[in-house]
Amino acid sequence: MGVFIGYPILETIRLAFTHPYTGEISLYNFQRLSRDFHFWNALKYTFLLAGIVIPIQVTLALGVSLLLLRRFKGSNMVLYIFLIPLTISDVAAALIWYNILTGNGYLNRILINLGLLKSPLHFFGYQYRSMEILAIVITEVWRATAIVFVIIFAGLQMIGKEYLEAADVFGASTYQKFRYIILPMIKPSLQTALIIRTLFAMQIFGVVWILAGRDIPILAGETYYWQIELKNPNVAAAYSLIIACISIFLGFLYIKLLKPEYLER
């Protein structure tokens, strides 16, 4: 484990603080980043996408969990189907939604054939960047809500029936049950889900690269660009170090902010 993960981390730090031309230890790579407007945009868009996508995913996952908690005929089938995107890669998910949203895609086909539109809606291309963001958000919600769902659903299933029955006895409303029993009890799962999703969101790459290329710069995309297109592993290492630091910082932040409350003390 040390060889696989520990050594590469040290190597990342070494690369990030090494001057690409002179080989001296320096802050050159980071200075270079801070002068590059792509870096600030990448930072902005990575956080913007996480900020839009994660709340939608958590709300949706919570809703689906509450629905599937009421066992009904076929609820297991719905569960399996909702989990399918867990097995689908970001690249494939991007292609799946490109298929729907592109100029000849099914959304435009429906709208045009119903006579609602004269010319197709454009989701892709530099001049339609806000639509590109919308396409990325849809794809991410479709693809990665399942992981949030798995965690929250597992947490919900652990809530003892007695609590909810007791609440019924005392005439609690659905909202009260949700607010004072369900929500506090799934706080640990919510925390795990938020941490995992946020860390993954900081690494978002395939979906954005396929749907928007560098129109929407993101941190992992810039890492890739510096490594592959510009062949500069030092700046690329600086980027990945920044992603790692942000991830660790956000992880700690969640752990501090979301302390679990206990119903029984």
Binding site: M1, F4, I5, Y7, I9, E11, T12, L15, V64, R70, F72, G74, M77, V78, L79, Y80, I81, F82, L83, I84, L86, T87, I88, S89, D90, V91, A92, L95, I96, W97, N99, I100, T102, G103, N104, Y106, N108, R109, I112, P120, W142, I147, V150, I151, A154, I196, L199, Q203, F205, G206, I210, G213, A220, Y224, Q227, P233, S240, L241, I243, A244
Partner: protein, 274 residues
Amino acid sequence: MYVKMYKGEALKMILTYALASIIVAWILVPLGLIFISAFAVPKEYYNIRKLIPLAFTTENVYTLLFVLKAWKSTLNSLIVAGLTIAISFALGLPTGYSLARFMFKGKDTFKLLIIGLRMFPVIVLAIPFTVIYLKIGLADTLIGVALAHTAMSLPFVVLITSSLFSGIPVDYEEAGMVFGLSRFEAFFRITLPLALPGLAAAAIFVFIMSWNEVFIASVLVLVNRTLPADILVSALNAPDPLKFAAGFIMVLPAMIFVFFARKYLIQVWGITIR
């Protein structure tokens, strides 16, 4: 259980099924549409007046696989996934077993470390791996990608196997040892067969992780690309029907696996997120 359906109850059921149908459609319709587009005759696909292409052909998939030689990258992906499963099980299975069976100093710290590592951003690993591989001669090799994927999947394999082995009572092994089996024989003849379905699900989990991984693969290998890396580079210039054929090929194996192992997979996912 319910003798009489009250009006409110009936309404609730209708609402439940309506919502459930929306969820199912939200997942299945986009999947179905990529299947349709992958096999649509391009002429039908480009005719926007047709709501849905109704003439089908295997031409897109054929062109992608054999004219553009995507079969090579598909094969590369399979090799990388196979190697990743082999290496991460060779390393992770004994670790998982000892975590489940033995007490040793620092066990809790070690467990915490593994749980922490599974959240580690894999992107950070990709860049140094390129530099290290140049030094040790693994640059641009599939085994190099497999090793990097192992770094990504190993924490999961350790967690899953240790949880599986904990679920099998140690008494079985001890009983076997009483009847003259060695520790290794007891493991291979008693515990391993019992854990096999779970291990298969874990292997599928690793397969999906590796098959889907694109960042590390596209940074580490420039010539012998894996399928996602190949698509990432060539998708931007390919005609649309070929993109959909690529999407179809990427989605297919994972879905087949999930169909056969869905119950176990849910259990495995449960372990990895605990």
